[in-house]
Amino acid sequence: MAPVIPRSGDAIFASVERVNAELFTLTYGAIVRQLLTDLEEVEEVNKQLDQMGYNIGIRLVDEFLAKSNVSRCIDFKETAEVIAKVGFKMFLGVTASVSNWDADGTCCSIILEDNPLVDFVELPDTCQGLYYCNVLSGVIRGALEMVSMKTEVTWVRDMLRGDDAFELQVKLLKQVPEEYPYKDDE
């Protein structure tokens, strides 16, 4: 069987159906605003955004694997690179970078300088503590869980809070090896 060559993020993004990013940005903004009105507490909104992201991520990973032709990643370093270069590009049209690896290779930062979710967005003072893009952390966590990696994703830098970039810290907690549901000798 001929080896399947992984496709670059740019190539995939050029080949998928694309839509006006404004619709996406405004829809997400309206959702966050409505959540703030309905739930009132910023922490609760953060939690719900993460949960929504998780639900999206567990499904999005199928499309990612189907379109990108990536083979199984050797280690977590490769996983993080693939997320940053291929994953973000094929969905959001932007490339992220990976840095701040720890000694074990289980914890890194994904840095995003351009983020369609926050175009024209400014947070009012009443939203202190809101992680506006928390859906992204849920998406990454959900997607990785579907490929047997339990992770913890937290925000280190947030441009809406005055920082110069968005930085997500992704920490690999556990790699669950795939188990076959049947025993060999039965």
């Binding site: 998928v16 694309r18 404004e22 405004l26 829809t27 309905d38 639900n55 499309e63």
Partner: protein, 223 residues
């Protein structure tokens, strides 16, 4: 063409929004969930309409505004125009999209229905749930249109819901039963108006715009 994202971002965000509001936040209160989804659509439509009409002069009448929604606005959002516009010249407009993007990829989750459709008592329940799920998704585009028109100074009511008229209901159920495992169909009915439209074409969507009664009901000629 401005910045773009993949269509699956929007699809998955909308699906997750509808599912969060219907199954988690307002699990047993579909009317409240529907109102929230419509409100989110309203905000989006209002802001989009603001952006897309910034450089234009004001519309001369309601028909021009509706035509803008059908042509330019719809093109920005869905890369196509509304396929058919009808009016009764009394303040009601029907916008028909024969291939509504957001429904084209929807399928009804087979696990949500019992495999055995021969049981009469379970079939209507699951099919009603399917119809309800479809109509929940439609609250969002209805809200977008209402928001867009409201920004243009035209208060209105927009619906694309599935009515409970007995004759039509059968057809709705029929169609959904046939296409349970593939694509959902959108069949829109007006429950109070004199017309009842239905369409069996895949992902055809009718959106009914009813102008507020206090707007003058001068006859609007459309062509």
């Amino acid at each position: 063409m401005g910045r773009e994202v993949s269509e699956s971002c929007v699809d998955s965000l909308l699906t997750e929004m509808v599912s969060s509001y219907c199954d988690r936040f307002y699990a047993n209160k579909p009317e409240l969930a529907a109102r929230r989804i419509e409100a989110i659509g309203f905000q989006v439509g209002h802001q989009l309409s603001e952006r897309y009409t910034m450089e234009r002069p004001r519309f001369s009448d309601n028909l021009e505004a509706i035509k803008f929604i059908c042509k330019d606005f719809w093109s920005e959002l869905f890369k196509k125009q509304i396929d058919n516009l009808k009016t009764n010249h009394k303040g009601t407009f029907v916008l028909q999209d024969n291939r509504f993007r957001w429904l084209a990829r929807m399928s009804i989750d087979p696990s949500s229905e019992d495999g055995d459709l021969s049981q009469d008592n379970s079939a209507p329940v699951t099919e009603n749930k399917a119809a309800q799920a479809t109509s929940m998704h439609l609250y969002f585009p209805c809200g977008i249109i209402r928001g867009a028109l409201s920004n243009l100074g035209i208060p209105c009511a927009v619906s694309a819901d599935i009515s409970s008229l007995p004759a039509c209901e059968l057809l709705v159920m029929e169609c959904i039963r046939l296409y349970l495992l593939s694509y959902a169909h959108c069949i829109a009915f007006i429950s109070t108006a004199r017309y009842s439209f239905f369409s069996q074409s895949r992902s055809s969507c009718m959106i009914i715009v009813i102008f507020h009664p206090c707007i003058s009901e001068r006859a609007l000629r459309f062509r």
